[in-house]
Symmetry: C2
């Protein structure tokens, strides 16, 4: 154990609040520069000026840096689904869940675009992303069942909602070039994820109608 692994109360107060953000920023830069597979946790911690022990206090492994927002996303979707009006149809419930996703994602557009580029290029990350989407689908279906919706309606409405999420997300992040040195575009140029979601929901209705 090195001296940097010792938690001085004063140091905790000074450093802990942004350790997670610094580790995330360092990880993204290293993943983009030298590739996800070739980056180690030791390198991420060093680039962030923190210890490996601090890294593992925040993330289970280097993969989880890219999935740390998943539980917030899931909680937000489920809460929105459960909070929808009593007389909402299953599709309206799913729409409410996707509107909650929009609130979560909109300020994260540049980050989301970088994340997507990393995931598309790495099989291990694609698998993890598919597992995340399956978890979101299952949680949404469970929320519908809690509201009294039976099966297969609950499963199909949840699957349809996550399908829209997936397609809308890919369109939305495609707005920004996915290179790390891309010039940040003004936030007014970024389309609202909510608009893309509503377009895709309308298109799904048209397709199945």
């Amino acid at each position: 154990m090195s001296v940097t692994d010792i938690d001085y109360p004063g140091r905790m107060t000074r450093w802990q609040p942004d350790a997670r953000d610094r580790l995330t920023a360092a990880a993204y830069e290293l993943y983009e520069q030298r590739g996800y597979e070739r980056t180690t946790v030791a390198e991420i911690a060093q680039a962030a000026g923190l210890s490996e022990r601090t890294f593992f206090r925040h993330f289970a492994d280097k993969r989880e840096v890219l999935f740390s927002g998943s539980s917030h996303l899931l909680d937000g979707m489920v809460a929105a689904a459960l909070a929808a009006p009593d007389d909402a149809t299953p599709f309206e419930v799913v729409t409410a869940a996707l509107e909650a996703v929009s609130v979560f994602l909109q300020p994260r557009h540049p980050h989301s675009a970088r994340r997507q580029a990393l995931i598309v290029g790495t099989a291990e990350l694609q698998e993890r992303e598919l597992a995340k989407m399956a978890t979101l689908t299952a949680a949404t279906a469970d929320a519908l069942r809690q509201r009294g919706v039976g099966d297969p309606t609950a499963s199909l409405a949840a699957e349809a909602g996550i399908a829209v999420f997936r397609v809308a997300f890919e369109r939305w992040v495609a707005v920004l070039p996915a290179e790390s040195d891309a010039t940040p575009i003004a936030s007014t140029d970024v389309p609202l994820f909510l608009d893309v979601v509503h377009d895709c929901l309308a298109e799904l209705r048209a397709v199945t109608g």
Copy 2:
């Protein structure tokens, strides 16, 4: 290399035609009896009375025994999508692809039920199954694009189709108890996958309509 690894022309002719089926049957029994993770390729080969070398001539690894039908399924779906009438809507094209799946799956019901029970119980297999579904979705969307369907329509129709596949499949295999010693039920008791698919397609229409 043991003597059983040598391919005598006469032996090839006698044994090769059913080697794949024997390996598959042995693998399923071992996976069910002692668990997927604890079963080795050597044990599967031995139980089938074949060499490891023969196993690897048929399957890349023990996981692929459970996914050897995937490429046939994909080819059948794509062929059906491309062969649909010129004036078919995207949803009708996807329906045609699912009807091709039904033809493929119907005679495989007991096998599909056993396979599903193994996959549900093993994280590594679930990941592989999700990847397979993502591949089917991408191939279906590509077939729609080849027919001149634009995006996001092609992506959404494909996602909706695979969502129906997934939900319908889970309902269909649930008919048979998933234990290996379950009494085989008469084929007349097994619902038509095609009927379950049509019910789910109608339900999806109702949900989004």
